[in-house]
Amino acid sequence: MRELIRFVSLRHLVRDRWRTLLSMVGVALGVAVLVAIRLANHTAFEAFRSSVDVVAGSADLQILSVDGQGFPDGLVRQVRTARGVRSFAPVIETVPVTASDERPFLLLGVDVFSERSFRRYTELADQEIDLASMLTNEGIVLSATVAEAEGVKRGDTIGVVIRGRVRQLAVAGVVEPEGPASAMGGRFGVMDLGGAQRLLERSGTLDRIDLSVEDASLIPELQEALQERLPANVEVVRPASRGEQTEKMLRAFDLNLTALAGIALFVSMFLIYNTVLTDVLRRRKEIGTLRSVGATPVQLMAMLLAEVSVLAVVGSTFGLALGIVLAEAAAEQVAATVTALYVLVAVEGVRLDAPILLQGAIFGFVLSLLAAVPAVREALQVPVRETMHTMALEQRLARRRSRMIVAGCVVLVLSGAASLAPPLGDTPVLGFGSAMLLLVGSAMLMPAFLRLVAGPLRKAATRWPGVEPRLAIDMMTTSLHRSAVAGGALMVAVAMLIGVDTMVGSFRSTVEVWVRQTIRFDLFVSLRSNAISASSQTPVPAEVLQELRAWPAVRTVDTFRGIRIPVNGSTTTLGNVDILAADRAGRLVFLDGDRRQILSEAESGEGVLVSEPFALRRGIGRGDRVSIPTPEGVRSYRASGIFYDYTSDAGLVLMHRGEFIRQWKDSSVTNIALELVDPSLAPQVQEQIERRFGSTVGLLVHTNSSLRAHILDLFDQTFAITYALELIAALIAITGVVTTLLSMVTERQRELGLLKAVGAVPGQIRRIVLYHGALLGVVAAVGGVVTGLALSTILVYVINRQSFGWSIQFSVDPTILVAVLLVIPTVSLLSALWPASIAVGRPVAGTVHYE
């Protein structure tokens, strides 16, 4: 057996080196995107998790406020006396930006003395830390990363934007970006607790208390005891579980990107199948000989699969390498999106992860073998004595076409059925299954589709001038099976492109309409430092709001204040608004229900308004109750109304401002919307606001149109990475077209030679191959558009709805359909140029003479 492999296999890979190489490229690209996406997501998540971890230091437990608003530092007394606590450290935490370049960093306020048992900085310092400056002078210790970026050293001052204002802080020391200082990619600073509290205007407040216990076995017990003793708006958690929470929030995001990458890998399987089938076809004589001398099908299968393994291993290995390189770019993109939509993460290089790499390699390898098995079986099922012309196999496959049609239809029906199923947990497992079955089913119908169009097309072609179209159609029909596989791969890639773009396009226009509907006021004011991440929610200084209310140019003021809080168990944004003002501002478009009743119930403080994703993902209907942890304990509110919202898939709950102030005793706001007496003066008023407050408060003032544009920009950025994935899938498919045409011109060299012998000029030979390519492109584009539209309905109505809870108005952009119908055949035609020139270049003599 080993001999068989050694003697027969590897030569062929070398002989057809171009085709081998292209197939490897296909596998490599497929593996690369999967690995790149998974690594990028992993990198972003790990960056977040490790920031949490390093900042937690050696803490066994952490006490946190559930709403992110902190808790009174008096709690320390209750904690200290709990049995089993060895040491504790109070912490206040914020993410300010530096004044010079507005880049965020993590700033901790700590008790210098209790800090020692959790996090150590002195070992990391280049010079002694100026403790006096820290304790008396609001001095700050910076990580070297921040210090270098700012060009400051110990003894200098650094401008930091805190609560919208620039503060000059003395640099009390610089530490290496290691340990706690490695949080947020090394952008870290630490101050004395008291100084930080004063600076943040949050005296008497803590964000966290870190605890270490005397004995690790006491952790669960202590956790429970503390949770019981402490008020409802604080929670006692293990540091590790904080990363999990975030991961849960990001899972849908991760899953969707991974699924898209999976399609690219799926496309590369077609390539492997075709390559292997072509290979066994070319070697039919050799295989026949081996069988006639007694090689068993199992032996031959092993021999051929051993050969595929080489291809798969090399392809997958390159795929891993390429994946790591691509992950570099993807990680930044993913981090930017995660930061904009969910939590602040800073990535620095890709974090390699052995399981992900291993998975990628195994996927590439196993899928390649799986794709090869049916191709090898085709070759081995042919009776030994049958002198197997290439067409014999194509004809055998043709005979099975009707069975294939039935199977394809069954798969499509299953896809339809799966799309109707509810989500499993909070992931649309069956939705993804439905999408996959749709792609598989329509690929199975590809041979029938080709056959269907080939007949009439050939008839029509006899009436065209020139015989080349007819010959191209013949060339396709004689290799129908493999043309269908190449076309099928391209079709899948096109379907992915159309499906995702239509979904994104529908989504975008839905958001556009919503933005137009709900953003009606003239100017929008918030802190510039909040623009960094959805998780930054620092309030605007109170005097700004006070002053703006009094400006004669301002007719109405609408305010918004958001805090992050677990509602019914998972993190969401609780916003408070003046319900009537918000309604006036057009903010609220309800799914259903009596508007006046909804509004009055919400205004009374009995009810809250919940966003559509919130309602959908947590299965909450109008009138159901939601539990919100307030500083006074968990309170239950009626979900009075459900409104359309596209700002966050984590959900948004709106509470009347009066009720919020009653519960939280906090009247600060994060966003201010202004309706002007004369809307045409918006740019002037914008300038006035900037002039009035610019020197003291870092405000971001959007006009109506710039805010709309900003929201759409954010939207586009979110989907930027999907375009890259579509492009790679298309690239793999085109590689498939090239390899198929390459094998075609080799297999058909006698026909092409005969054509030359009877007077076909090089241009005609070239056109035949180019038309074949273009024809594949046309069929793939048409099939892809149809399948893609079906895919987009699954994406819009099933996957997106179940993953994120958006309701998207389905809309089809005809320009992209037209573009695909033009571009794909053109690209496919261009990809035929190389095979065509090979066909042209072969000498005539010799190809026609011998049997």
Partner: protein
Amino acid sequence: MSHLEVPVIEVSGLYKTYAHGGRPVAALRDVHLSVAKGSCTALMGSSGCGKSTLLNIIGGIDTPSSGTVSIHGRERKGRNESELALLRRREVGLIFQFFNLMPTMSVQENVALPALLDARPSGFVMERAAWLLKEVGLDHRLDHMPHELSGGEMQRTAIARALINEPSVILADEPTGNLDSSTAAHVLEVLLDVVRRNERTLLVATHSHELASRVDRVVHMKDGAILDA
């Protein structure tokens, strides 16, 4: 020279050397040959003596290492691949021993192929193909596919195809070499008959003495050279 003896094919000083695994193989050595218009000439000689090579070069599907070839006094030198293709299409008709037909085209389409490649109007071309097929006795097989034909029928189809563009020269490389003797005799009959009635010039490579006895002239080759020029 009577007008019948005007040379249509003129070959002089023709050499063809193949590089076979680094070692040069001389397939043709200083070949001189002229074929008179309207004549039927047989090329004979043992296997490997260079008959096919000579026909290929005359037919423009192979290129000489040196020497000249002309048809109707038009020199071959300096023609590019397209011009050679046009020569094959319009000035010569080729018939091979094996694999003469496009498997995906009907008999009639196969016959019409060189004319279709020439972008002639399809209706006219198909009619002429049908007429030629009648000439070779295949008018009942117009819509058949090549694999439905016998070997003799295939060769008769190839003969009809060779005539479709009315070339002055027909080059046939062992057209009956693959057929049993009675079929071979029939095909030969058809070939000579059609060529003569249409006043074409025929150059045919063959091992068949039967064929040799029925042509105007027999040229013998040995080791890449012509013996009795």
